[in-house]
């Protein structure tokens, strides 16, 4: 059972009543989590977890200590508070200590659906049976993962702030492979409301991609124009809004650093149609109502019309630099200033290039240019004269993300869609568009399917 606001408040008040330290922030979180996995067209593992845990951070003479537990009896809670205080006493002064927040006012966010949190195991089994049946009918081998989570948590400070939030998330990912193992398709979507998760579409798209990617040809690696479907954009850029940190930029160790200890704020770093922002109240992508350390979240624009408008400041760094702290980001939205272009129209407009739907095993290579390496996965197609010609084998890429979105490289931008990173298993989401770009750097071939 998830904690109600009343229960969350009572636990926070109890924890604070045990605190003798000068300052403290306490939190309690609860979750209901269920999952079901399938592979080789059969059910594999499936389970459930219920948990409640508390975290306590205290400061004594500006010295910090933190402790956590999931044992909720009074003796354990008292012992955990005492442990945090013991750790604080023997720690050096926290030079970045900022007094915890006093009472804040939050604007509610609607990101919780009861039906998602309490998903029925029998209806979930039926949904996955339908996915497997669709795979069997198409003569492909299905694998996938369904998860549903409900969370409720409360947090309070010694200085009088309190917040309670509920959220939920359901996701389904499906991989379809041809029995000979020469072709594979993948599709993933999530939502906070289980009623809005189109599981049949997810299965059908994965199957369609597997069938369309049969008999791939070998293409030389090199620089190609590409169309990236929203899933590929999520895999590559889903984290982008969270990388605009002022401190690392001002310390000279970020792609947004400029020579001489400066930053690129005010510079046109991306194509002039690109806007990157965070909006806690977006109906399709509700974020948390509280941003860093409990500041009430706000809509924050990071890049407007390609110009770097904001870097985000922690409370400590803002104080150091004489700035206001930034209450965000809490989610990631990329959209065009111009009317969106559909993927079909992108294909029609392409003389020669590639269409791809997923990237895999993406890792940073050079933080100065946000250079990433990784691979294409689960379908990549060659386009010529506005038409898909044939599937091709996978590639490894080495691509700078700042160059990817740079002025002159972005050709067309699609309509943002709610999509989660595939390496992140769809556990979070962003609103991201398909992108057509002029140059994408593939450095070698991969035989992997």
């Amino acid at each position: 059972m998830l904690l109600t606001e009343k229960e969350g408040r009572a636990i926070c008040e109890k924890l604070l009543s045990y605190v003798k330290a000068d300052d403290a922030v306490v939190g309690v979180s609860s979750e209901n989590y269920g999952h079901l996995r399938f592979a080789s067209n059969a059910f594999t593992t499936s389970g459930a977890r219920e948990n409640v845990s508390v975290g306590i951070t205290v400061w004594i003479d500006k010295k910090r200590g933190a402790a956590s537990t999931n044992e909720m009896d009074d003796e354990s809670l008292k012992a955990t508070v005492a442990l945090a205080e013991q750790l604080a006493r023997i720690s050096p002064v926290d030079r970045e200590y900022m007094p915890t927040l006093s009472k804040q006012t939050y604007k509610p966010v609607n990101g919780y659906a009861e039906a998602t949190s309490n998903i029925s195991v029998t209806s979930r089994a039926k949904i996955i049976n339908d996915v497997i049946t669709a795979c069997e009918k198409a003569n492909v081998i299905g694998a996938g993962f369904h998860q549903a989570r409900g969370s409720a948590g409360a947090s309070a400070t010694k200085n009088g702030n309190f917040i309670y939030e509920q959220s939920s998330l359901v996701s389904l990912a499906t991989t379809a492979r041809t029995p000979d193992g020469t072709s594979s398709g993948y599709f993933l979507r999530n939502h906070f409301d289980v009623a809005k998760l189109d599981t049949a579409r997810i299965a059908n798209e994965a199957i369609r991609k597997a069938l369309d990617a049969r008999n791939p040809r070998v293409l030389d690696p090199g620089v190609y124009p590409v169309i990236l479907e929203p899933q590929a954009v999520a895999d590559l850029l889903g984290f982008l809004a969270f990388s605009f940190d002022a401190r690392s930029a001002e310390e000279g160790r970020s792609p947004f650093s400029a020579p001489g200890g400066k930053t690129k704020v005010g510079e046109k770093i991306f194509d002039e149609r690109i806007n990157i922002y965070s909006d806690p109240w977006h109906p399709e992508l509700p974020g948390s109502q509280s941003a860093q350390v409990g500041l009430p979240a706000e809509k924050i624009v990071l890049v407007r019309n390609g110009v770097l408008e904001n870097l985000f400041y922690s409370r400590f760094w803002a104080k150091q630099k004489g700035k206001e702290p930034t209450p965000g980001p809490v989610n990631s939205i990329i959209e065009s200033s111009q009317p969106p272009v559909s993927v079909d129209d992108m294909i029609k407009s392409m003389d020669r290039g590639l269409l791809l739907g997923r990237f895999w095993y993406i890792r940073g290579v050079d933080p100065r240019s946000a250079l990433q390496t990784g691979l294409t996965r689960d379908g990549i197609w060659y386009i010529e004269n506005g038409k898909i010609q044939y599937p091709v084998k996978n590639f490894r890429f080495n691509q700078s993300l700042t160059q990817l979105l740079a002025p002159g490289n972005v050709d067309m931008i699609g309509k943002p869609e709610r999509v989660g990173s595939s390496e992140g298993q769809g556990g979070s989401a962003s609103l991201l568009p398909a992108l057509k770009v002029k140059e994408f750097n593939f450095t070698s071939q991969s035989e992997a399917v």
């Binding site: 219920e50 933190a66 012992a79 023997i90 694998a143 095993y361 992997a448």
Partner: protein, 526 residues
């Protein structure tokens, strides 16, 4: 001028010695089932009886219960300040059942007889709901009944060492790293984990295990503010399945100083020219290449497409066993859950199978898999190699990687001997950027420090190096292995796999090794 932590405590009028955590509350250091019962009134054996009896009554063919406590501690510092000191613990249980050939699992933090009964029923309900549509019934190979306890080999329990000593140690590392001009930042970290695991199954086994692991690390960054360049150098010594003695025995301070010097040197190092090079790879680097391109493709669940939706499958298909020349004939890769100081070293796995040692690659040929009881049954094997693991009481256990290590060469070959045989090459230390495809064919690895090798001698420092290769091409290009004296153990504290994602700690030992004509990229060029 830096102020040492001890000086600070003195000036603040605080006696450091009096402040070590001498007596922790009893609920966080109980060790055995008997002690748990005495401390908290939780009788694990009685709870196991309830779970297994309930499951049997509901018609399962197999059930296990794991009642586990996890303790962790982490200390993070940067430059002269402490960023975080925290301790956490969590406790709970999970029940796994096999009903009509279908797995079900449920778990809770509330460890009471009523909750054990309720959660067992829930695990069976989940299995039952899914079993209606099950196409392929899962079965298990048998295992011997075991009633025992096991403790990992550590000398000094890190949870008994004072926090102040640990902080002092990290700040001294930072000071050592910051000595070099040009070094602007250093982050250092120390983390410890203690797992107290109880397992009981319908096979009659009852196993208690107590495991300690240590994870020290640091990263030094040098910045050239004039041109906006920055370079980092991370620690070469990785996590190990040891106690606090690992912190005390390894020469971390010397390494931090060296890291500072090397980070600053990297700013003005020569950019590598892309092309084919012979590579001499130090164990602090090679462990990660082993992990990704030998450890993962020999997981049997990947080969059977059980991981197709996430981690991927494997180019090692069942027909290649005993036939594929995976590596050059001088190479032997051994899976070993008994390896001293190994992060994946245990007494028993999470389904009651004793820890073992076996060859995956013998004289270069691919000969065997990593298995669990259900995977062994799927492939007609009679026993499991004991690779089942769940990362929490709340996670269903499933196949995870054992320690996988490359055996040293038979002689006393040194790193210098291997370098002497290279005309144009690169010597690489430390793990850097890494990426490999979903069937483990194509990979790219960076590193921490790169040295040019010219005419049999180590030359100047290089930068922006990464190599790309194909797994079997790479391992077959190895023509030189260092001897036992060059053997070191690297590893990862957090190897991710599975859905929902789980984390596993795993070690990989190896000697220094030489590879011929590998494709090298310059990562700073497009």
């Amino acid at each position: 001028m830096t102020t040492s932590r001890r000086d600070f405590l003195k000036s603040a009028g605080v006696a450091a010695g009096a402040l070590s955590i001498a007596s922790l509350p009893s609920w966080i250091d109980s060790v055995t089932a008997a002690e748990e019962a005495a401390a908290n009134g939780i009788d694990k054996n009685a709870l196991a009886d309830i779970a297994l009896k309930t499951a049997r009554k509901l018609g399962v063919t197999y059930a296990d219960i794991r009642i586990n406590r996890y303790r962790n501690e982490s200390i993070a510092t940067r430059e002269q300040q402490v960023q975080n000191v925290s301790r956490g613990q969590n406790f709970g249980f999970g029940v796994r059942v096999l009903y009509k050939g279908t797995w079900g699992f449920a778990s809770s933090r509330s460890v009471t007889p009523d909750d054990v009964r309720r959660i067992t029923q829930q695990a069976v309900e989940i299995a039952r709901a899914n079993s209606i549509y099950q196409r392929k019934r899962i079965s298990l190979v048998p295992v011997e009944k075991v009633v025992t306890s096991w403790k990992s080999a550590f000398e000094k329990d890190p949870f008994e060492v004072s926090i102040d000593d640990k902080i002092q140690f990290l700040l001294s590392l930072n000071e050592a790293a910051m000595k070099t001009k040009g070094v602007s930042f250093v982050n250092s970290f120390m983390g410890f984990v203690n797992e107290q695991k109880f397992y009981a199954s319908t096979d009659g086994s009852r196993i208690e295990q107590y495991i300690i692991r240590a994870n020290p690390s640091f990263t030094v960054t040098a910045v050239n503010r004039a041109n906006g360049d920055f370079q980092s150098r991370s620690a070469l010594g990785g996590p190990q399945g040891m106690g606090y003695e690992y912190i005390e025995k390894h020469d971390w301070k010397h390494e931090a100083e060296q890291a500072g010097e090397e980070a600053a040197m990297k700013l003005s190092a020569k950019a590598v020219d892309p092309g084919k090079y012979d590579l001499v790879l130090h164990p602090s680097h090679l462990w990660l290449t082993i992990h990704e391109s030998v450890g993962h493709p020999t997981e049997l669940d990947r080969s059977l497409w059980m991981e197709a939706n996430y981690a991927g499958t494997s180019f090692l298909t069942p027909d290649k066993i005993g036939k594929l020349q995976f590596a050059s004939k001088i190479m032997n890769f051994v899976a070993d859950r008994t390896q001293p100081a190994g992060l994946a070293t245990v007494g028993y796995d999470d389904e009651g199978v004793r820890a073992q040692r076996w060859h995956l690659i013998k004289d270069g040929t691919f000969v065997d898999w990593q298995t669990t009881r259900d995977l062994a049954a799927m492939t007609g094997k009679k026993t499991s190699y004991g690779c089942n693991h769940g990362d929490s009481w709340g996670s269903i256990s499933f196949p995870r990687m054992p320690n996988v290590s490359l055996q040293p060469g038979p002689g006393n070959t040194s790193m210098d001997d291997l370098i002497a045989g290279v005309e144009k090459g690169i010597l690489i230390y430390g793990d850097g950027s890494y990426s490999i495809d979903q069937q483990r064919y194509n990979f790219q690895f960076g590193g921490q420090v790169f040295w040019e090798i010219k005419n049999g001698k180590r030359g100047e420092m290089l930068r922006d190096v990464a190599y790309q290769s194909r797994t079997t091409d790479f391992w077959n290009s190895c023509d030189g292995l260092g001897g036992q004296s060059t053997y070191e153990l690297g590893g990862s504290f957090n190897d991710g796999k599975g859905e929902p994602g789980q984390s596993n700690a795993v070690s990989h030992g190896c000697p220094v090794a030489r590879f011929r004509q590998v494709n090298v990229l310059n990562t700073a060029r497009k």
